[in-house]
Assembly symmetry: C3
Homo-oligomer: 256 residues x 3
Amino acid sequence: MESDERYHLPADQRLTFVLVHGSWADAHFWDGVAAVLRSRGHTVYTPEYAGHGKDPNKDVTHAMITKSVVDFITKLNLHNIVLVGHSFGGTVIQKVAEQVPDRIKRLVFWDAFVLKDGESVVDEFPLQMRQGFEQLRASSKDDTLMLPFPLFRDSFVNTATLEEAEQMYASITPEPAKPLFEKLDLKAFYALPTPKSYVYFYQDNAVPQGEGFGWHPHMSMRLGQYRLIVGDGDHFTTAHTRPAMLAQKLYEAGRY
Amino acid sequence: MESDERYHLPADQRLTFVLVHGSWADAHFWDGVAAVLRSRGHTVYTPEYAGHGKDPNKDVTHAMITKSVVDFITKLNLHNIVLVGHSFGGTVIQKVAEQVPDRIKRLVFWDAFVLKDGESVVDEFPLQMRQGFEQLRASSKDDTLMLPFPLFRDSFVNTATLEEAEQMYASITPEPAKPLFEKLDLKAFYALPTPKSYVYFYQDNAVPQGEGFGWHPHMSMRLGQYRLIVGDGDHFTTAHTRPAMLAQKLYEAGRY
Amino acid sequence: MESDERYHLPADQRLTFVLVHGSWADAHFWDGVAAVLRSRGHTVYTPEYAGHGKDPNKDVTHAMITKSVVDFITKLNLHNIVLVGHSFGGTVIQKVAEQVPDRIKRLVFWDAFVLKDGESVVDEFPLQMRQGFEQLRASSKDDTLMLPFPLFRDSFVNTATLEEAEQMYASITPEPAKPLFEKLDLKAFYALPTPKSYVYFYQDNAVPQGEGFGWHPHMSMRLGQYRLIVGDGDHFTTAHTRPAMLAQKLYEAGRY
């Protein structure tokens, strides 16, 4: 994996990445990874979407989030893109792909939701955790969900040191709840012939690994034929502490 | 993982470990790991329990084993402990946690049984293996189980050299059978709010990995919210040949 | 794993390997691995079988393929062999083992089919992929299956560079279809006491990893008691680019 390709990539192997972050994150989530990919000759975009980053309005729908990314791609007139979704971003690239399929070379899901037609994100959690999310939602004044630190520490950054965990926790903000509870129509997605990849990190337990649950193979197998790339990491820490490793895995998932 | 924290751990990150071994082992199982953890500034206890080590009486119950560990903890008046169970030791820390919950900072299951309420250890094996254990039990004069070498070599020390396998086999003694067949009341355990971690080694096939079986995710997911740590190793060899790696994983599972 | 045993193996630890390749491959698939194993003191045979290599006749049955390997073993009067099957080769060693059980020290399945009694290879694929194979078969003039490059690239050589993928694709030829669709009588296999190992590479998605599908644990667990060895690799690339790693894993699976 430490081959020369990283540093002397021929022009025809340089890719255009559009990286779509997940919940409790904003576009800065990708800063380290994007820098590595650019240093290897790739073009990288990290669109922000509704309800996140500097957007003061947290009252957003899944359609508004999707529109943010679609508008970003069409305004810049991007083509032949490797569209990467992380976590909740998986549901976003599912819907974006329905709207601009001709602009997409390949979809890459990195520990990302691949929802079934008619399903919501919270449908993919075991009952006890789903009820936990519902309680968090009910106790919010502005219909957002904030992860308690113990849950974040054990489920999102399980491999981090305490210092790293606290640093990452300091950067997260309450997440608009509604898009996580919306059931999505994905019939068009499942008719798309777009090539797909799934990147799975085997210490990622943010959605519990398990019988009838989990990123891979439970959700990945819904993609039908796809390219599998596996690595060692958890849900949030790797982007922060090992961006070069993550960049390499995303490249392996996206390349020709 | 080779960070400075290993060697210059601040006082507030030093942990108190209580390590509970599994079947066909005694407290010396932990010698290598305990030495590494102590060298990094942690306090480590490795209690022996009824029917094991120098105890000549093999006619023991699960309750007697639990009592050995509870008594050890209370007599030394230990608090804020990271209580680690390996293999059968998982069932022991489940029951110990019911009795001294206020003394436990976190439970760590390392390729350990997490039994359902009302279940026994042998209930977690496929039918063919359960019958094998029953035959071993029936052929014993003192109600103990001895692992035949071929089973031990392929299921417990699959990654070892033959020389290492024979060396480890020389140290095992017949295991009291009764505690493996006892069905445990675990209602109190499942009501405990104690934080939990699961350490999974992906070459560990001592309980067969599989659909409806296995350490992880089959048993780990019973913990509800927990911290997952994954590493490369099998059931017995790692403690013998790579104690520093195992110590690091247990630290990652137990730290704040 | 980089221990001295690799290079100074005592005579009583030298093994006799018979390596049986899978579909879309011929005996040259093993060239790199065989060279490494021989350099470490092992004896290695890589029999070609009916319908493959220089055999112009593609109209073969599973029984003819099995006979090729059985005849190879009996003509050379081999004994105490470690019989390794890769992919489709798993079904071949299942049938070979039925015919010459006394010559076999251990069976090693490396990301290989372990069929149930009465099952065919295509029965182990999800419906959509099985239908894809049926369409490929229907469109063939000589009842062979040729993998389209996109399927080969994403499912067989997912971790390869594009250059490596194209190089490996150039070496594959259409595969006789019939043996993949034949349902095999395996009652005798499942009565054999022969020791068994399963080598699983966790980036191998050639048979989709998943709930109710996949190399491991879905098919491996049919072996009952077996030795598990896990490594990092995909279905075809590792033999090509990292033969020493693969040789070490096969040695760990086959050794005493």
